[in-house]
């Protein structure tokens, strides 16, 4: 009897969780939409854009992430070269290692690795910053001063991320190729110049632009999730930890989901 009751409750739970998930995505879309409106349309309607705050964020999100993004994407490029060489060698096609690295880094790994580093550095920081402000009533204070929190807190981050994440991605692509180049020169009879030549022959502009388009989308997702988690922080310090964790986990999940959807779309639209 009890078991039957539990089984009957399953569809209820599934439905409830689905609705919650949809509400969450809806909240993200609303927040991102509001930030996009303030950033892209607001200035033409006489609303204040806060360039110094966006600049400050851009420094934190972009410039300070360069060392770690460089290092990780260099390593990932090297790993990709090693892994693909293993298989290509058996086919006697080791000269294609440059192509393999170039395509995998520029189309997929560059944007994804960058996004994941940005989630860890900035997505979590957004949630912690806004969450702390929520707990200490600073968000309320903004509202009572007639300063809209989304315009003051989210829009500058949105703008900074929209500019900096694609920039970081370009840099990560370059560093990844450099990582592959290290293997190419050391283990596959390439010279530095011939490796770069092989890379540029392997790539078409479309590869780079789809990667950048994805990274722009990732930046929106990361900003929206980080800020949303921050705003939904309840009372108490332990809630900030919860928000930060949720921001990282949800961002990684949603970035990969968005990646899957858009990679599928690109695949379908270019098949013919």
């Amino acid at each position: 009897m009890k078991a039957a009751y539990k089984v009957a409750a399953v569809p209820d739970r599934v439905g409830l969780e689905t609705l919650k998930g949809l509400a969450y995505i809806g909240g993200l879309a609303r927040l991102a939409g509001e930030a996009a409106y303030i950033t892209l349309v607001g200035p033409f309607r006489g609303q204040r854009l806060r360039p110094q705050r966006a600049f400050h964020q851009a420094m934190a999100v972009g410039v300070r992430a360069i060392p770690i993004v460089s290092l990780i994407s260099f390593f990932v490029g090297l790993i990709m070269a090693l892994q693909s060489a293993y298989e290509l060698q058996r086919l006697g096609a080791i000269q294609f290692v440059a192509d393999a690295v170039a395509i995998s880094i520029v189309r997929e790994l560059g944007p994804l690795i960058t996004a994941i580093i940005v989630i860890g550095r900035s997505g979590s920081a957004f949630a912690a910053e806004i969450g702390t402000m929520k707990v200490t009533e600073e968000v309320d204070a903004l509202e009572t001063m007639a300063v809209p929190p989304v315009a003051f807190l989210v829009a500058p981050k949105f703008l900074a991320m929209l500019v900096m994440v694609p920039c970081l991605t370009i840099w990560a692509d370059f560093m990844g190729v450099m990582g592959g180049c290290l293997f190419g020169v050391a283990g596959a009879n390439f010279t530095f110049v011939s490796y770069l030549k092989a890379t540029s022959d392997a790539l078409v502009l479309h590869d780079i632009s789809t990667g950048l388009a994805k990274s722009a989308l990732f930046s929106v997702v990361i900003t929206a999730v980080g800020c949303q988690e921050g705003f939904s922080t309840g009372a108490g310090a332990e809630e900030i930890g919860r928000s930060t964790t949720a921001a990282v986990v949800n961002s990684i999940f949603l970035v990969i989901l968005v990646d899957l959807v858009f990679t599928t779309l690109f695949y379908i639209t270019n098949r013919v």
Binding site: E129, E138, A141, M145
Partner: protein, 274 residues
């Protein structure tokens, strides 16, 4: 109780039958009162009485589920975002913990409303910031970060920020909470000074009896979401209502609490989630 308010002049704030819900539960059960121009109204109440909810509703952070809150002739229960912003520029709020922005200096905190809402020159803003900080006794602290200030200084800085746009109404949330008696007395002194210097209306939410009797023109006692007493200090002090007497004479509740009541008290004390 509400019939006893004199209707002289147009009140700055007029609350009629205000009801506020968090979800299903009603926190404020039909509250009515006025705040006259230039007067200081102290809202007294214990933990979980709904006094913080009342303040949050007055400053527009909570939406009423019934009744009306008229501020400067606009019902904020139905005001548009733009009307609400106009009202907010005319009021200052000093939060319990100060709510200074931790990433900005004290000076930038005070300058924020000026930078956001006026087109003043940066040099003018600097002067105004210095004047406001001087008024609260924090001259030469503008380059300090909020984390470098003590609790009392944070509250003073928060008052300076609330004063930045020369508000008509100043709201205080628990001005003396978490302060030692000497610092708390200093804050009371500051409130009295501001009262003398400006013709501002003030609404102070507190549970500190001594402080309330010092600064109030009129007092309002809230218990479990309803007004149980309202009037001048003397009227309140002479009240015979048993709950009022219990609060004023600091008589503890009977030890064994009804579990449901206790849970209710706990949850009411919490800040609402969004």
């Amino acid at each position: 109780m509400s019939e006893s308010i004199p209707e002289a002049g147009r009140p700055v704030i007029s609350v009629t039958d205000l009801r506020v819900n968090y979800g299903e539960r009603e926190i404020l059960h039909g509250i009515s009162f006025d705040v006259e121009r230039g007067e200081t109204l102290v809202i007294l109440g214990g933990s979980g009485s709904g006094k913080s909810t009342l303040l949050r509703t007055l400053v527009g952070l909570e939406k009423p589920s019934g009744g009306a809150v008229w501020i400067r002739g606009v019902n904020i229960a139905q005001a548009s975002a733009r009307e609400m912003d106009e009202i907010r520029k005319k009021m200052g709020v000093s939060f319990q913990g100060g709510a200074l922005f931790g990433s900005m200096t004290v000076g930038d905190n005070v300058a924020l409303p000026l930078r956001e809402h006026t087109r003043l020159e940066e040099s003018t803003i600097e002067i105004m910031v210095r004047i406001k900080l001087e008024q609260v006794g924090l001259a030469s602290f503008e380059d300090f970060m909020p984390s470098q200030l003590s609790g009392g200084m944070k509250k003073r800085a928060a008052v300076a920020r609330a004063l930045a746009l020369d508000p008509e109404i100043l709201f205080f949330d628990e001005p003396s909470a978490g302060l030692d008696p000497i610092i708390a007395a200093g804050i009371d002194e500051l409130i009295l000074e501001l009262k003398k210097a400006y013709a501002m209306s003030m609404v102070v939410v507190t549970h500190e009896l001594a402080s309330a009797f010092l600064i109030a023109d009129r007092m309002l006692l809230i218990d479990r979401g309803s007004v149980i007493a309202m009037g001048a200090k003397k009227e309140l002090a002479d009240s015979t209502n048993p709950r009022v007497r219990q609060f004023l004479d600091r008589v503890p509740e009977p030890q064994v609490e009804d579990e449901l009541n206790y849970l209710q008290m706990l949850t009411e004390d919490r800040k609402p989630r969004h």
